[in-house]
């Protein structure tokens, strides 16, 4: 089948502002993913088309983009799942565009780093020289939020983030949640204090765009609410 692919293009060395370009691309809608379409354009029609991709199977997080109005990984979306011939592809919303589908991720990663995304535990390691113990139940408590691949699909789909770019955003909160609810972590209070800031969890309006956008199926809104509840629980 032939799809009518519309891509929002922008080359800072040539263009004043982004513009749509149309490409007709042959594809097998059952097998081909949107990433395959982009490759076909780049390798057969216009080598200057620019996008990030690496693993091409949904685990590295490079190719999140706005596809038919929703944030998706291009490598994890088959053409037939879109259910129509015209497909629009644009860069992730709310982030500065560098070129074509490539956005500047530095601010996104800075927010991730701001939640101190590493285990805080000052206890001595077990004298046996072996692992710390953790029950399967305690391990299950934070399983969902360990899946994050930092693709930014969630944060850049969030209207609260669009309105207030200082908002730390769903991805950073997900990564804080991963430690706050890890029984081995001792940094919970510090993290909760940080996230109770004006640009922290309270900016979430439970719109659920993030949960819809997550290619890993993380229950992001629920994780944000669990963090909010934990902050509430600390205060008399």
């Amino acid at each position: 089948m032939q799809v009518d692919l519309r891509i929002l293009r922008y080359d800072p060395e040539r263009d004043d502002k982004p513009h749509w370009e149309a490409y007709l691309v042959e594809c097998d809608p059952k097998m081909d993913r949107v990433l395959d379409l982009l490759h076909r354009v780049k390798y057969e029609q216009d080598g200057s088309l620019t996008f990030r991709r690496s693993c091409a199977h949904g685990v590295c997080g490079s190719d999140a983009m706005l596809i038919n109005g929703r944030n998706r990984l291009a490598c994890k979306l088959r053409v037939e799942q879109l259910g129509r011939r015209r497909i629009t592809v644009a860069p992730l919303p709310g982030l500065p565009v560098i070129k074509d589908l490539v956005v500047d991720m530095d601010g996104f990663f800075d927010k991730f780093k701001s939640v101190q995304p590493y285990l805080m535990n000052d206890d001595e390691v077990p004298a046996s020289g072996r692992e710390r113990l953790q029950s399967p139940e305690d391990r299950a408590r934070y399983d969902d939020t360990t899946k994050c691949i930092l693709c930014a699909a969630c944060t850049s789909s969030c209207p609260s983030f669009w309105a207030q770019p200082a908002y730390i955003g769903p991805a950073a909160i997900v990564n804080a949640h991963r430690f706050i609810f890890d029984s081995r972590d001792g940094g919970g209070d510090e993290r909760l204090e940080f996230l109770s800031d004006a640009d922290g969890v309270w900016r979430c309006r439970t719109i659920f765009n993030c949960t819809d956008a997550c290619p890993r199926g993380i229950h992001i809104t629920q994780a944000i609410l669990e963090v909010s509840s934990a902050i509430g629980g600390r205060r008399p």
């Binding site: 080359d11 800072p12 060395e13 040539r14 059952k30 097998m31 780049k42 390798y43 057969e44 216009d46 080598g47 200057s48 620019t50 996008f51 991709r53 690496s54 693993c55 091409a56 199977h57 949904g58 685990v59 590295c60 997080g61 490079s62 994890k76 088959r78 560098i98 070129k99 074509d100 490539v102 991720m105 530095d106 990663f109 780093k113 101190q116 995304p117 590493y118 285990l119 535990n121 390691v125 020289g129 072996r130 692992e131 710390r132 113990l133 953790q134 029950s135 399967p136 391990r139 934070y142 399983d143 360990t146 899946k147 691949i149 930092l150 430690f179 890890d182 081995r184 972590d185 199926g217």
Partner: protein, 581 residues
């Protein structure tokens, strides 16, 4: 722009990150340069687990792990290195837990372990639970955990910088010189940067993109391996390339061996569990080279599914709970990419190009060596898939890639800390960027009519068809000619994108150059090895020949094609024996 750091690491996968964490913890000024963002590295795609003889569920010993590694590698493994691998696997896995890695747990709260291909109890009696895992996303968790630690310890990152040249002082790297840094290309704006360093580590991963069907990321183009080769470092054991038995048909996405570790089986077109014929003891958990060959042989005998070129991986009998809880990611892959429900349907699979056993030769301290005598290149280190220690020999066992990058990544970090003491910052001439600049500007300005994607496709086709699971002299000679032709065409490539900002067109042209180097050395090494060993299966020489070929291949760059020399294998505890499972 000119920058300097005491230690510079190229590549931000598991090996590079662990080395960086070691250095930063010791207060050394360490930087990591990566052409991606660190969390995009392909360590994150590893699924099934990391083996360590913790013995959490049944008796196990590092000596058994060492033996399995050596036998799995068809005795081409350096046994001193395998001993280090098996011993230090235990402490590195425990250390990862202390860093926060969320391993699955046993009822007692210990790290959970499962079976994996080629890992046995008591020197081959049967499968053992040795693979420590976090669902089927163990590599993701390792990559995340090490990146978290790198942030914690203040490692400096150069994200989206592509390495374009290696620098040395006192001669080239293969000729007695000392590593002095790198030249890197900043993808965001096309600027060149010279980074001088007292210690340089190459940890750029593999080069699976030289094959058509591969589990490897697009980024895996052998950058570090090819750059070392261009500077006179030999490439070791390049003829040994692993095809993983269970890739998704047509697109090569990996379905973890953990599926078989949990009890999944392979079925041919007659519904037969054919691995029972090929490996009566280990069956579906035989090493990957054997399973991939068995699949090819079944297909050739007309016993593929409906006579086609694939067989089934069947996990239906494991039940929904095991499938969804212990194999969630690959279940998702099968649903998304094949539209198949693995709980009720068998999964069509075929071998996929997966892992380079060969690479840059190093000693057990992760120092790069440049000849058969093991002469160290001062200031240059390598670990992970980029390197060849050699712990994998002729065939790597499942999970040992992660063990390798943990153990030898950590060793590289520790060794750099020692080696840079008292060493001054190397002097780097003002014009060191010029060769790289000339090459890049030449590509950007080229009016050549040859196309990068076309050449890359042709390369991937010939490597897949002629240098794959089975090889013979005629296939390899044809491949050599073809690769030479493609190399000639590569000198005439043009790029469409002439810009400076995020020019991936230019980047892919450079990456293709690296892949051509990797392919050339692979073919030359495979042609000369007239025996079958591990992943190198010659149909014209079907037997292993220890008298002639119990030796590592070294391929050194020379006019007219690689020059081959050989280097002895280190044997300490286990004499070579016939390899049956």
């Amino acid at each position: 722009m000119r920058i300097q750091h005491d230690a510079l690491i190229v590549g931000a996968g598991g090996a590079g990150l662990w080395a960086a964490v070691e250095l930063a913890k010791a207060g050394v000024d360490a930087a990591v340069l990566t052409k991606l963002y660190p969390t995009r590295s392909h360590t994150g795609a590893a699924q099934g687990g990391v083996c360590a003889a913790l013995g959490n569920l049944e008796e196990d010993h590092w000596e058994w792990h060492m033996y399995d590694t050596i036998k799995g590698g068809d005795y081409l493994v350096d046994q001193d290195a395998a001993e280090i691998l098996a011993r230090e696997a235990i402490e590195t896995v425990v250390e990862l837990e202390h860093m926060g890695l969320p391993f699955n747990r046993t009822a007692e709260g210990k790290i959970d372990q499962r079976r994996f291909g080629g890992h046995t109890r008591n020197y081959g009696e049967g499968p053992v639970r040795r693979s420590c895992f976090a669902a089927d996303r163990t590599g993701h968790m390792i990559l995340q955990t090490l990146y978290q630690q790198a942030i914690k310890h203040g490692v400096k990152f150069y994200d989206e910088y592509h390495v374009v040249d290696l620098l040395s002082e006192g001669g080239d790297l293969g000729d007695g010189g000392r590593a002095a840094g790198v030249v890197a290309y900043r993808i965001a704006d096309g600027s060149l940067h010279t980074i001088a360093a007292k210690a340089v580590m190459l940890a750029t991963g593999g080069f699976g993109r030289m094959f058509r069907i591969t589990s490897n990321a697009w980024s895996l183009t052998g950058d570090g391996v090819a750059l070392a080769y261009r500077h006179g470092i030999p490439m070791q054991d390049m003829e040994f390339y692993q095809f993983h038995p269970t890739g998704i048909v047509g697109i090569g996405i990996l379905l973890s061996e953990a599926a078989r570790g949990e009890g999944g089986i392979l079925l041919n077109g007659e519904g037969e569990r054919f691995m029972e014929r090929y490996a009566p003891t280990m069956k579906d958990l035989a090493p990957r080279d054997m399973v991939s060959r068995a699949i090819y042989q079944e297909v050739r005998a007309g016993r593929g599914i409906d006579g086609k070129d694939f067989v089934y991986l069947d996990v239906r009998h494991l039940g929904r709970k095991v499938i969804e809880e212990k194999l969630p990611d690959i279940t998702d892959f099968v649903r998304v990419y094949q539209g198949i429900e693995p709980i009720t349907e068998p999964i069509p699979i075929q071998p996929t190009a997966h892992y380079a056993m060969g690479g840059i030769p190093t000693d057990v301290l992760a120092r790069v060596t440049r000849d058969a005598a093991g002469t160290v290149v001062p200031g240059l280190y390598a670990a992970g898939e980029t390197a060849c220690v050699s712990v994998h020999g002729a065939n790597r066992l499942g999970t040992n890639s992660l063990v390798d990058l943990l153990v030898f990544g950590r060793r590289a970090g520790r060794q750099m800390i020692e080696d840079i003491k008292g060493v001054g910052m190397p002097s780097v001439a003002d014009d060191v960027e010029e060769p790289a600049r000339a090459e890049i500007e030449g590509l950007r300005g080229s009016t050549g009519q040859e196309s990068v994607p076309r050449i890359r496709e042709k390369l991937a086709d010939v490597m897949m068809d002629n240098v794959g699971v089975f090889r013979d002299e005629a296939m390899l000679l044809a491949a050599r000619t073809r690769v030479q032709e493609l190399r000639a065409r590569y000198t005439r490539v043009g790029v469409t994108d002439k810009g400076l900002v995020f020019n991936t067109d230019l980047l892919e042209a450079r990456e293709l150059g690296y892949l051509l180097d990797c392919a050339e050395t692979t073919v030359a090494s495979a042609l000369a090895r007239k025996e079958s060993r591990g992943a190198h299966a010659r149909e014209d020489y079907p037997e292993r020949d220890d008298a002639q070929f119990l030796t590592h291949t070294l391929a050194t760059r020379a006019v007219g094609g690689p020059r081959l020399t050989y280097k002895p294998v280190t044997i300490t505890k286990f004499e070579p024996k016939p390899r049956v499972y």
